[in-house]
């Protein structure tokens, strides 16, 4: 990041931090567009199934609840 205009040659660290904050917020809000939550649920199911199968359970059914259902 360099020249802004004739009077100001560079951003301050405070300004850069604000830009980074916008970037971080943008990534957080875009996470839904990726398949990451579905992948996380899939991995959780496989972990929980393996955990209970080690305890001797043959069939393990995993259901996810929304916050409203709790």
């Amino acid at each position: 990041m360099v020249d802004v205009n004739g009077m100001r040659s560079s951003f301050t660290q405070e300004e850069k931090n604000k830009i980074l904050q916008l970037g971080e917020s943008s990534i957080r809000s875009s996470l839904g567009e990726t398949r990451i939550f579905k992948e996380a649920e899939k991995n959780t199911i496989s972990f929980v199934q393996e955990f209970y199968q080690q305890m001797g359970f043959e069939k393990v059914i995993v259901k996810f609840q929304t916050n409203d259902e709790k």
Binding site: M7, R8, S9, S10, T12, Q13, E14, E15, K16, N17, K18, I19, L20, Q21, L22, G23, E24, S25, S26, I27, S30, E33, T34, I36, E39, N43, F47, E50, F51, Q54, M55, G56
Partner: protein, 212 residues
């Protein structure tokens, strides 16, 4: 006597002109608190996705102040440096005479997660008719998150580059790790894991949990 009064008047006029110019310039330039930054829509590019199997049973929120300061070397350097501060049109220095050449202070709020990394099937469950044994690895620090959203530039005077800010962020991270170690969170995480297992396993049998 007259010439002294005239000199004084001139100095006062010069000071008034300087201050007026300073405030007009500052008003035109705006301050860094102006919320005038907008991020344009850009596609999200995912660098990598890593599969993990971590169970975090303790979260530790911490706030640390990371500061770096540079002083003038000697009185001559101090005089020249302070005069340079006055001539700085970008107003990155506080307009006052001091020993401080430049300073950057960040307030960083971070979160540490302590728990278990259960990849590579590194836990075992054994059982017989009256007992279930759980063998887990020892709890450890899984992650320390420090990010821009929870970072505030508290004080900034002088010119600083990104490397300096990043170094301060790393310093803050190291401080949070030290605080985690002081708080002895691994024992608490193991206790919390044991409670979780007792909740997950509703069984009449005796349950024994080991961390090794």
């Amino acid at each position: 006597m007259r010439s002294k009064i005239r000199l004084l008047k001139n100095l006062v006029v010069l000071a008034v002109i300087y201050l007026a110019g300073f405030y007009i310039f500052r008003a035109c330039k705006g301050t860094s608190n102006d919320p005038d930054f907008v991020l344009e829509d850009t596609p999200l590019h995912i660098e990598s996705v890593r599969r993990i199997a971590e169970v975090a049973t303790m979260s530790f929120q911490d706030e640390v102040v990371a500061d770096t300061v540079e002083y003038f070397k000697g009185s001559e350097d101090k005089w020249i440096g302070n005069l340079k501060k006055l001539s700085d049109l970008e107003i990155k220095h506080f307009i006052r005479y001091s020993n401080v050449k430049r300073r950057l202070t960040l307030i960083v709020k971070g979160e540490a997660k302590v728990g278990f990394e259960l990849t590579d099937k590194n836990y075992r469950i054994a059982q017989n008719v009256d007992t279930i044994w759980f063998h887990f690895p020892k709890a450890k620090l899984l992650d320390v998150n420090v990010n821009p959203l929870h970072t505030e530039v508290f004080q900034e005077s002088g010119i600083w580059n990104d490397v300096a800010r990043q170094k301060l962020m790393n310093k803050a991270k190291t401080r949070i790790v030290k605080d985690v170690n002081k708080a002895e969170l691994t024992q608490k995480a193991e206790k919390s894991m044991s409670d979780l297992i007792l909740q997950l396993v509703s069984d009449e049998r005796k349950i024994l949990i080991y961390y090794e």
